[in-house]
């Protein structure tokens, strides 16, 4: 009886706090993206103004996120029938956007105006979510070369 009760409690806590946190985070992401939109990102190594630019440096941005209990529960249900795991998609998407924003902030602080050769890496650091003792924590890292026009 107790285990069903705590399961319901965890699910409710995960759903309520997870949803609030997600809404807040999305709002923050939109605001920050708007602020930093002057910084141009490119995944290619060559850029028309690379030759003229004198200053360049490596910039990075990282974030570690965890799944909430509700999302993990939904994912385990989807796992039975297959298909898109919506609950994970939104989380990883938010993590990527956050990592890119942090990388842009790093460039912005030092006066750089564009970042080329951007690479994004995702790695699982806490073990698989499904396994016993697994955290389902995901690290997203974005890095690139920031350049200045001068």
């Amino acid at each position: 009886m107790f285990s069903y009760g705590s399961l319901a409690l965890f699910l409710a806590a995960g759903f309520i706090f997870g949803t609030i946190a997600e809404k807040k985070h999305l709002k923050e992401l939109r605001e920050k993206e708007n602020l930093l939109k002057s910084i141009i990102l490119s995944t290619s190594k060559k850029h028309s103004f690379v030759q003229q630019s004198l200053h360049s440096t490596l910039v990075t941005g990282h974030v570690v996120v965890a799944l909430d209990y509700f999302k993990r529960f939904v994912a385990s249900l989807v796992n039975l029938v297959g298909g898109r795991v919506f609950s994970f998609e939104s989380l990883i998407d938010r993590a990527r956007r956050e990592a890119i924003i942090r990388m842009k902030e790093d460039a912005h602080r030092n006066g750089f105006d564009s970042i080329i050769n951007v690479r994004i890496e995702t790695s699982n650091i806490g073990g698989s979510a499904g396994k016993k003792g697994g955290m389902g924590a995901i690290e997203v890292m974005a890095y690139g070369t920031a350049i200045k026009h001068s």
Binding site: K45, A66, N117, I125
Partner: protein, 104 residues
């Protein structure tokens, strides 16, 4: 020391190649952070403690790589790559590598 993940340093030309340089560090999380993370595991969201920990560790790895490059007499590292692997439960290896060069 200029770091870039391009194959050259923009606006400068490479004069000497010194070969591969790398730095790595393995970090385990301490128990307080683990407890907090366990709690976050129910509520979801960013694990700030881990973000910080990995950030510090990565800077340490970069520092080691830079030291190695400096001892070779290089003044830039090009083509920098990062990699993260979880070795055991609770410990992560952060590895960074690149090519040490001298630019002018």
């Amino acid at each position: 020391m200029i770091l870039t993940n391009l194959e050259s340093v923009p606006g400068k030309s490479i004069t000497t190649h010194f070969g591969l340089v790398s730095g790595s560090t393995i970090r385990a999380k301490h128990i307080g952070r683990d407890l907090m993370a366990g709690f976050k595991n129910i509520l979801g969201g960013e694990l700030k403690g881990y973000t910080e920990l990995l950030n510090e560790s990565r800077q340490e790895a970069v520092k080691r790589m830079k030291e190695q490059a400096r001892s070779l007499g290089a003044n830039a590292i090009i083509n920098v790559r990062f990699s993260t692997s979880s070795i055991t439960q609770g410990a992560a290896e952060l590895y960074v590598y690149g090519t040490a060069v001298s630019v002018s």
